[in-house]
């Protein structure tokens, strides 16, 4: 009886404070992506949201088969949608700075995540990508859905070997 009351009140509290309820788990495996922002709704480590492969693959995702300037022939990319990563991290802002392992970075407007089905590809042709193979994360625009994206503007935003996303106003 008592236990039930406590559980109910906990559930109610969870409804009232969603931030608590959906607090991000801590990564169990190797961290492959860190999302940072001036303020995050769901940070898990030191005011940043850090993800391992397992966490990323649990998010809403899409798979697309397409040609890119960096691959040969049609390649199937799959991975979580950029916007679901931002939502999970509780990041708010207008600009994203995508930073690669080699410190290359590109500025991407948040609209690209919200309006386009942009993914952070974790797998190419079903296989995870090593750093030698542009892994572990590759920002892929939906070139298969919209041919008008196939130009240098989006190529330069298509960062690979991604390690960090910085969200800013």
């Amino acid at each position: 009886m008592h236990i039930r009351v406590v559980l109910t009140s906990l559930a109610l509290t969870a409804l009232c404070f969603p931030a608590w309820a959906f607090a991000l788990d801590k990564p169990k495996g190797d961290v492959i992506l860190t999302v940072s922002a001036p303020h995050l709704d769901h940070p898990n480590i030191d005011e940043t949201a850090q993800f391992d492969l397992h966490m990323l693959e649990a998010l809403a995702s899409r798979t697309g088969e397409m040609e890119t300037p960096w691959t040969e022939g049609k390649v199937k990319f799959s991975g979580p949608l950029l916007r679901s990563i931002l939502e999970t991290a509780g990041a708010h802002g207008t600009k994203l700075k995508i930073i690669a392992l080699n410190d290359y970075s590109a500025e991407v407007p948040v609209e690209d995540a919200e309006k386009l089905d942009t993914i952070l590809a974790t797998r190419m042709n079903g296989e995870t990508m090593s750093v030698r193979d542009k892994g572990p994360l590759f920002l892929i625009y939906p070139f298969d859905k919209d041919a008008s994206l196939f130009n240098e503007k989006y190529f330069s935003r298509s960062v690979w070997q991604i390690k960090t996303i910085e969200v800013s106003e």
Binding site: P69, T71, L101, N102, S130, R132, K134, F150, E152
Partner: protein, 732 residues
């Protein structure tokens, strides 16, 4: 006109040549545009090819990552730092370098640059160093133990790698610069080409505008000259039309001018023939009258033809009793046929299926008369047969008339010339038989105007058959005209007060002489003006009005007389004119005239007018002159002959008639006994002619009746009784 026509033709031809040039220019223009478009699309494709990872950037990244790896390893060796974090960082550095090397392999570096052997060797070195260290780094990643002794030589190799990537970077940069310069050159060339194309385009447009302007100008000029030509043609047409009208007017005037004196000649001759003349003079008189009539026919034919040529052939449809038209037509030519020793045979059904039709009786009679006169003219001592048959087609009823003769016939060549204006079978025909050669043309035109067909079959020496067919529509005779027909027995003439309006003195004398001869009270005036005055002062039963007169013409006079009459009973006014056109007829009717008579008027025609008028009057005033019978006709004829030849002569004529009649009756009995109906018919015809010439109309009528039925002994006896009756009465 021809000059301007030719010049406008030239203009049009030039314009079309210009159009051709214009078209080729347009094609050239199009080709230029297509060329430009293809070029642009080629360039675009080239640009698409360029949408690749930038080679220079790739080489730069490779160089940079090689340096960073070398630096990391160098620092590790110098500081002897083998911690796992630095080992991991070293692994990552190598992985990035490895991926960079991969990228460089994939960026179609070879495709973009024409590599010389030295560079190829350099790239091969770089590849072998980078990929050659995979084993060492994989081992490092799995064991995590950093052995400085193992890594020192790798550090040296990496130093070589850095210098190799650096020189590759320099080489690539040079190459890219050259490429860029070349690309600029290509763009410049393209721009130049585009400029040329634009110049060509502008040229084309300019030429286009120029040619269009020229063409517009020439079209306008051509239009103007065509308009001028059309105006000239119109003027020429109007001139021609005016000339034609003048000719027609001239024809009409000449017709009138010829017919007026001819009228006088014919009238006088007829009048003179009525008075006792010595036989030689009488024969001359007869010739004058015959020739005059022939001349009149010729003139009428020519005037008719002129009318037809101007498309003024009017068909006036009236209700027509076929039988009476045929009978009167035959009567009109019978005398002439007899003169030539010809016999006329009529073949038509006892009763027509459609006895009364709507057609133009005057035109029908004209055609029949023409064909019959031709048949008589070209036949001597033969037979002329007029047969009429009715045929029925799906749409209408057709009457077919056939006039066959046993005359000279026409050969094949001659048949072709028939129905052509002014042509006769051959020159000898016109010399021998005379005639205008217009008769058949007129017939053809009339029949065609009646929607019919006309044709001929003939063999030289065997005779000819002219035939024509006209579609007819059944009609009903109006009751009063039927009654008039019943009463219309020649003989009695009422005595009328007649006003004769005529300006020509001779015509006055002739017409007045005829009227007086017919026992009429005549008042003669010289023009329309006087006629109006006379009509105002005195009531007339009939006015005979000439059309063309000085001071006031017939039309105007009639109009004034009708105005003066107001609501009094109107006096019948009959127009007399030599200009017997349809227009005149219409004018007369509009002015209020009762009837219309073309000049010259013969004694017979005058008699008919007076008879008709008397009948109309008698019907109006309850039959005062109802007693029209054979006795009266006899009395009139007697007066006529006595006036002309004297009383004694008439008595002689009468007695010789009765003598002849006895002989004729005997002949008939004999013929009947021998079943020779033809002779009997001929004898009856002679009897009829003789009887009517002395005014014994009843005998004439009875003879004619017998002819139309079957002749029997009984009927001959009845005729004999009638003759006997008259003989007794006249002897008394």
């Amino acid at each position: 006109m021809t000059v301007s026509a030719r010049s406008s033709g030239d203009i049009i031809r030039k314009a079309s040549k210009a159009t051709l040039i214009l078209q080729s220019f347009a094609v050239l223009l199009l080709m230029g545009l297509v060329f430009l478009l293809t070029d642009i699309s080629h360039r675009y494709a080239a640009l698409q090819d360029g949408v690749r990872e930038n080679a220079l950037w790739s080489v730069y990244q490779l160089d940079r990552e090689a340096r960073r790896l070398h630096e990391t390893l160098h620092v590790m060796l110098a500081e002897r730092d083998g911690s796992s974090a630095t080992v991991k960082a070293l692994g990552t550095r190598y992985d990035i370098l490895y991926s960079r090397m991969n990228i460089l392999e994939r960026t179609s570096f070879e495709r973009e640059f024409k590599l010389d052997s030295a560079v190829e060797r350099q790239i091969a070195d770089i590849r072998s160093i980078v990929f050659g260290k995979v084993g060492a780094f994989d081992a490092l990643a799995s064991h995590g133990s950093f052995e400085p002794a193992t890594w020192a030589p790798i550090d040296d190799e990496l130093e070589k790698l850095v210098s190799a990537t650096e020189s590759l970077l320099v080489y690539t940069n040079n190459n890219v610069s050259t490429d860029r310069a070349e690309a600029r050159q290509a763009v410049l060339a393209l721009q130049l080409k585009s400029a040329w194309l634009v110049v060509l385009l502008v040229c084309c447009v300019v030429v286009l505008i120029f040619i269009l302007r020229r063409q517009l100008k020439s079209v306008r000029l051509a239009g103007l000259s065509l308009e001028a030509i059309s105006n000239e043609l119109n003027d020429a047409y109007l001139d021609a039309e005016a000339g034609n009208r003048a000719k027609s007017q001239f024809m009409a005037t000449m017709g009138h001018e010829v017919r007026t004196p001819l009228n006088a000649i014919l009238g006088t001759a007829e009048l003179l023939e009525l008075s006792p003349l010595p036989p030689s003079v009488a024969a001359g008189m007869h010739t004058i009258r015959r020739s005059g009539q022939a001349l009149l026919e010729v003139i009428n034919e020519i005037l008719d033809f002129a009318k037809i040529e101007h498309g003024k052939l009017d068909i006036e449809v009236r209700v027509v009793d076929l039988q009476s038209v045929l009978a009167t037509t035959i009567e009109m030519v019978r005398d002439r046929a007899t003169e030539q020793g010809n016999q006329i045979v009529l073949h038509f059904p006892e009763t027509f299926r459609i006895p009364v039709v709507a057609t133009d009786p005057t035109r029908l009679r004209q055609v029949l008369l023409n064909l019959l006169s031709n048949a008589i003219k070209f036949t001597s001592k033969g037979t002329i047969t007029l047969s009429v048959t009715e045929a029925e087609t799906s749409q209408n009823s057709i009457l077919r008339f056939e006039i066959s003769d046993t005359g000279i016939g026409i050969d094949q060549a001659g048949l072709c010339r028939l129905f052509q204006p002014f042509s006769q079978v051959d020159a000898s025909i016109s010399r021998k038989y005379g005639g205008t050669g217009l008769g058949l043309t007129i017939c053809k035109q009339i029949i065609e105007a009646m929607m019919g067909r006309i044709g001929v079959e003939s063999r030289k020496g065997k005779g000819s058959t002219f035939w024509f067919e006209i579609p007819v529509v059944a009609a009903v005779l109006p009751a009063p005209s039927a009654a008039l027909g019943d009463h219309c027995l020649p003989g009695t003439l009422p005595i009328l007060k007649i006003l004769l309006v005529e300006d020509n003195l001779v015509n006055q004398q002739v017409a007045a002489g005829f009227l007086k001869h017919l026992g009429q009270k005549v008042t003669v005036v010289g023009d329309g003006f006087e006629s109006v005055e006379a009509a105002a002062h005195e009531a007339f039963d009939l006015i005979l009005m000439d059309m063309q007169m000085p001071r006031m013409d017939g039309i105007e006079a009639t109009r004034l007389i009708r105005e003066a009459e107001n609501d009094r009973e109107s006096t019948p006014i009959i127009a007399m004119t030599a200009n017997a056109s349809e227009d005149d007829r219409r004018l007369c009717e509009e002015a209020g005239m009762t009837g219309f008579q073309s000049k010259p008027i013969s004694l017979q025609q005058l008699r008919a007018i007076i008879e008709t008028q008397g009948l109309l009057m008698s019907e109006a005033s309850t039959g005062e002159v109802q007693a029209i019978d054979t006795e009266n006709s006899f009395a009139v004829r007697k007066t006529e002959i006595e006036a002309a030849l004297g009383e004694e002569a008439f008595q002689e004529l009468l007695s010789s008639f009765f003598d002849d009649a006895t002989k004729l009756l005997e002949g008939m009995h004999e013929a009947l006994a021998a079943n020779d109906y033809r002779s009997a018919d001929r004898l009856l015809h002679t009897m009829k002619g003789a009887a009517s010439s002395v005014g014994l109309q009843r005998i004439a009528d009875t003879s004619q009746q017998l002819r139309s039925g079957t002749i029997s002994e009984n009927s001959i006896t009845r005729l004999a009784d009638t003759i006997g009756e008259f003989r007794q009465r006249l002897a008394a």
